[in-house]
Amino acid sequence: MGRLRSLLIPGVDKQLLVRDAVKVMPDLARRRFIAGGASFGALTLLTGCNVFDSFSAEDMLKQISKFNDGVQDLIFNPNALAPTFPESAITKPFPFNAYYELDDAPDINGKDWKFEVRGLVDNKKSWTLEELYKLPQVKQITRHICVEGWSAIGSWTGTPLRDFLKIVGADTRAKYCWFQCGDSEGYNSPLDMRTALHPQTQMTFKFGDEILPRAYGYPMKVRVPTKLGFKNPKYVISMEVTNEYKGGYWEDQGYNSFSGS
């Protein structure tokens, strides 16, 4: 009560104020005012927090998320480069982040590992790490932005994915490059073709000029600086070029599928 009193305007008598207010209300308005309050109260009482269940909020939200995929595809400029930074801006230590702990991260032997290429490509051969290391590489220092909100600047070196797609004769009119990863739950993620062809989208083999460490996805990650972090798969084992939307580890759980930045 004391707290309530302190909220009142000094010098204004509460009871007089209420009496005045009710007096100036026309009858109809007073009734509508009270009825409105009662029905809203009843609504929240009866249904608790699930006021929106009757028309399935979840379905509506999924539809809007699909709409947002379209909007983001529309505003995606294939020539707009993600801002780059000097070496001095690199975040140290660069955070490790995954649905598993670092100790449980895939521990891949680079000598046995092969990168499988499937789907709408002319050359379906699998690539060894040695073969991939021979492709021309470029370095980028860009900001990695996590869906959680934090960001970190890192240095990634590797082969532009669009160069690789050309080498394997991929049908770049296809809708997606779908990546699978070597972790126990089979992380995967679809990448729309326009983003796959973006000049900064990269098959990454090095972090900070060193061979990609286990924490950041050895032997290969796909770095996409125009997407949120979860669309940058690590420990990648295969890529399928496809027109089919095959879903993704986080995408299936509700993260927006385009998630462009």
Binding site: A21, N68, E148, N256, S261
Partner: protein, 209 residues
């Protein structure tokens, strides 16, 4: 002329012109809903990577987890943006901003603040805002524009990178977005408290008069 006569006799029951026109009431309540959805889902998103040394209780957040909150946030943003643009367009076009919110003079704000604090500020004519109201209502419109722009810079720091740079970069834009939220919540507390203390103002926002 009949309206003039009516307003002389019964100022509160004048039938000529509503205190709050229909379009103001509609955008006001849509905005109220959109703001509440944005704030509650925004708190859940904040919790995934807090900027400060606290988290919001899950009792007052929307979405259940980060993914759910993001779905709400990026759905309600359309409601907030489209409704906000309609409000700004009509506010300028109808002259409401110019008539109701301007001018704001420092002397007027100081004298009305004093009057409010000593209990001498009158609410006899709800169609006219005092200087404290003018300042707060104009200020919250600016904050509303800022929270949308800082939100866009966080959402699209590559496609809208010049906007993001204007806010001082991605990380700074997150703080701007948070501070704008805090300002809106503070405004909301005062705004709701005063509307309850002067119920005829709340009634005017519901039925117009």
């Amino acid at each position: 002329m009949s309206s003039l006569a009516a307003s002389h006799e019964h100022p509160a029951l004048s039938t000529s012109k509503p205190i709050q026109p229909g379009w103001v009431r509609i955008v006001h309540w849509i905005n109220a809903l959109a703001m509440i959805l944005m704030i509650m889902s925004g708190w859940q998103i904040y919790n995934a990577s807090p900027l400060f040394n606290f988290r919001f209780s899950s009792n007052i957040t929307l979405g259940g987890w980060l993914g759910g909150a993001l779905l709400w946030h990026f759905a309600a943003m359309w409601l907030l943006m489209v409704n906000g643009l309609v409000y700004l367009a009509l506010g300028f076009a109808t002259g409401r901003f110019a008539n109701k919110l301007l001018p704001i003079t420092p002397a007027g704000v100081i004298s009305d603040t004093k009057a409010a604090l000593t209990g001498k500020l009158l609410h006899d004519d709800l169609s006219k805002y005092n200087y404290v109201q003018k300042l707060l209502y104009a200020g919250i419109i600016v904050v509303g524009v800022l929270i949308v722009l800082s939100g866009l810079s966080i959402w699209k720091p590559v496609q809208l990178q010049y906007l993001t740079a204007l806010f001082g970069g991605y990380d700074v834009a997150r703080y701007v977005h948070f501070i704008c939220m805090a300002a809106i919540v503070a405004f909301l507390v005062v705004h709701v408290a005063l509307a309850l203390l002067v119920p005829k103002s709340l009634r005017a926002m519901i039925i117009g008069r």
